[in-house]
Symmetry: C2
């Protein structure tokens, strides 16, 4: 499996942003990628930077978006992981990943389960939490454990994907810094973001890819200055070891050949799955135990 | 809370090993430590390096060991985390942590829940898996989430400790390299060991300490050459950031002041506990989902 991560900026219009994505997909295809992964909500600026009713209109073309990306997958003969603003019905919108196989068919979808809501990341305003659970998606290149951004902080999500046979963990993401934070705090945040995801690779003996956007996006409501998306898209192997990592400020295509068979060897030398104490894990389904 | 981690070697006899531990505890106390943490099975060499019936005799003095370490805690006026070979009854032995409060009273015990069994680490031969679950231990310096070594690879254990109000995660450990492994593999193993534990600090917004032994211990059955325990005992903060880290080959006392109140601030800016999807976590109590 040759995976390509498309780390990019958003441009003034949806069309310009998509044009850049298409250009980068073409470049990835020229280098024989057969699995291409786009960043979270890659068609637009990160509109959840504030709460605005008019932003729901961004989901009005959702059905056409699906057809469009299906054709992109088919035309390029690639398995394509997209991240779209899903309009399910009036009043029910999701932050969803749609995976198209290389013939353009819809291989499956994942609706973001863990929804953040913090200064600059007002997702609970827009998105109904996913109701499909954590289910890997079967494709012609493998069984993909697709999760989205905030999910990456929850080991439970990665674990369930692994228990259902995911062969790789995939995180389209939109995360960045506030310029007002100290350099130390920025370093802690980036390091924590990388570390928590590497830990899912380690604990499940799976390769993992995370695709983040870059560039500064201004808050058009001026509640904050804006978000400086920190890039750093990366690929780690079954022991959490770095295979590739992008810069914090440039558009980049990160490519790597991933051997899905290595999982078996690592799980034999690090047999975590053998030893899980499932007889004592029921407490994990509580919010707190006081 | 001023915590001290005692990273040490094992010596030819139990008495010599304990004498060194006592010397290091005295040094830690001179620097005003009020919580001292010893490494896994600190009274002896790591006897699980092979399977030998005669090693069960090492637990014969268990009741006296308890009295001894209780007195050490009382004499030094410290909260003391010990790691002992617990003889519960003929045929039932545990790998257990006993925590003594600064008045010498037994604050609580934790029996290792996840038991490894691999070349050089034959613990399933010696230890009955713990039957007490994951329960933090209340002491005069705080509520301690004590886990042991192999537990560190399982996010489930750390999470349940946190859900039960643990204020710090603590891992007495005995882990090392085989000299026959490549330098790359050694690096991946050490890095994975550090990363997985940092991830528990991050996902639970808790400080974390890990105490590992150092030194080469030969396999007296010559099934393998031996284990080179890699030290690297460390302390990280609530965002997984490094506060202190020991060397890979020297006996060391690592001291640090930990602010248990910082957890609240971090959980407010990173509200992971708010967003856990406990309605979809029941699957975690399965060995595999096929």
């Amino acid at each position: 499996m040759r995976v390509a991560l498309i780390q990019q900026k958003s441009y003034p219009t949806k069309q310009q942003t998509i044009d850049k994505t298409l250009y980068m997909i073409t470049k990835a295809k020229e280098q024989d990628a057969n699995l291409v992964i786009l960043q979270e909500l890659h068609q637009d600026r990160y509109f959840c930077i504030n709460e605005s009713i008019k932003n729901f209109d961004l989901a009005n073309d959702f059905e056409n978006d699906l057809k469009f990306w299906s054709k992109v997958a088919k035309d390029n003969k690639i398995v394509l992981v997209t991240s779209l603003f899903e309009k399910r019905v009036a009043g029910v919108y999701h932050n969803s990943a749609f995976v198209f196989d290389s013939d353009g068919s819809l291989a499956g979808k994942y609706r973001k389960m863990h929804i953040p809501h913090d200064q600059g990341f007002y997702e609970k305003f827009y998105f109904t939490p996913g109701d499909l659970g954590f289910c890997p998606i079967d494709t012609s290149v493998g069984r993909l454990g697709v999760l989205i951004c905030w999910d990456q902080w929850f080991g439970e999500a990665a674990r369930i994907m692994a228990l259902k046979g995911a062969e790789i963990l995939i995180y389209p993401t939109a995360i960045g810094w506030f310029d007002s934070d100290s350099e130390d705090e920025k370093k802690r945040q980036l390091d924590a973001w990388i570390t928590i995801q590497r830990s899912h690779a380690i604990s499940n003996s799976l390769p993992l890819v995370s695709v983040n956007r870059v560039g500064f996006e201004k808050d058009d409501k001026n509640l904050i200055d804006g978000i400086r998306f920190w890039g750093n898209s990366f690929i780690v192997g079954n022991q959490g070891e770095f295979l590739k990592q992008a810069s914090s400020d440039k558009e980049e295509i990160i490519l790597h050949d991933i051997d899905l068979k290595r999982c078996e060897k690592i799980r034999q030398i690090w047999p975590f799955f053998r030893d899980r104490r499932v007889d004592f894990y029921d407490e994990l389904n509580k919010k707190f135990l006081s």
